[in-house]
């Protein structure tokens, strides 16, 4: 199946800083999503972005499908942004959605 890797694995930011999280995938995808897993374990949909660019408030995401990567931008980070960010992809002829290894973000005041 498709392989999904994320970087960096861990990130510590000062409140107000910006960051870029990266997701690489091994095969062409027809479905790519970004999630935020909060400290209570809930997976919150951030973006559905198989290609192109989307923005939602302080967050934006870009997927370049031909080069097999996606980026999540967080601007003016807040402590509530802390948690684990996952990208998840579906492709290669499979129904399943494969999660990346995650980026654990900690935003400190």
């Amino acid at each position: 199946g498709i392989q999904v890797e994320q970087s960096p694995p861990d990130l510590i930011l000062q409140e107000g800083a910006n960051s870029t999280l990266r997701c690489n995938f091994s095969d062409s995808v027809n479905n790519l999503q970004w999630f935020h897993q909060n400290p209570w374990g809930q997976l919150i949909n951030l973006f559905y972005i198989p290609s192109g660019t989307k923005q939602n408030g302080r967050l934006s995401a870009t997927t370049v499908a031909t080069e097999r990567y996606s980026l999540l931008y967080i601007s003016s980070s807040q402590t509530t942004d802390s948690g684990v960010y996952f990208c998840a992809a579906r492709g290669g002829g499979y129904q399943k959605v494969t999660f990346g290894t995650g980026t654990k973000l900690q935003v400190i005041p």
């Binding site: 997976l43 499979y94 399943k96 999660f99 990346g100």
Partner: protein, 114 residues
């Protein structure tokens, strides 16, 4: 808006017992996925169903089985529980509409095996 409903939210079982987790997808969603997330791990795909038929299978132990019913809800049955089965179990659903649709996750069932 309706979300994916999982029950129970928390479950404590002893070794060798059985457990049944339930998932109620968003209305008009015909695809259901089950995932297992161990502590500090990323969610691992177990099994999926499309229109009540198994559509894909991942690293699901033989002790586990699942099905999707006529009303599209799904159940994950786990037998001979082991300590290593302690994890957060997610169900997700995806709407009809072909390949280019978004999956939505439930809040998860936290299973603890003691």
């Amino acid at each position: 808006a309706a979300g994916v409903i999982q029950s129970p939210r928390h479950l404590i079982k002893e070794k060798r017992e059985t457990a049944t987790l339930k998932c109620y997808p968003i209305p008009r969603h015909d695809t259901v996925y089950w995932y297992q997330q161990g502590p500090g791990q990323d969610p691992q795909f177990l099994i999926s169903f499309y229109e009540k038929m198994q559509s894909d299978k991942g690293s699901i132990p033989d002790r586990f089985s699942a099905q999707q019913f006529s009303d599209y809800h799904s159940e994950l049955n786990m037998s001979s529980l082991e300590l290593g089965d302690s994890a957060l179990y997610f169900c997700a659903s995806r709407p009809r509409g072909g390949t280019h649709t978004e999956a939505f996750f439930g809040q998860g069932t936290r299973l603890t095996v003691v």
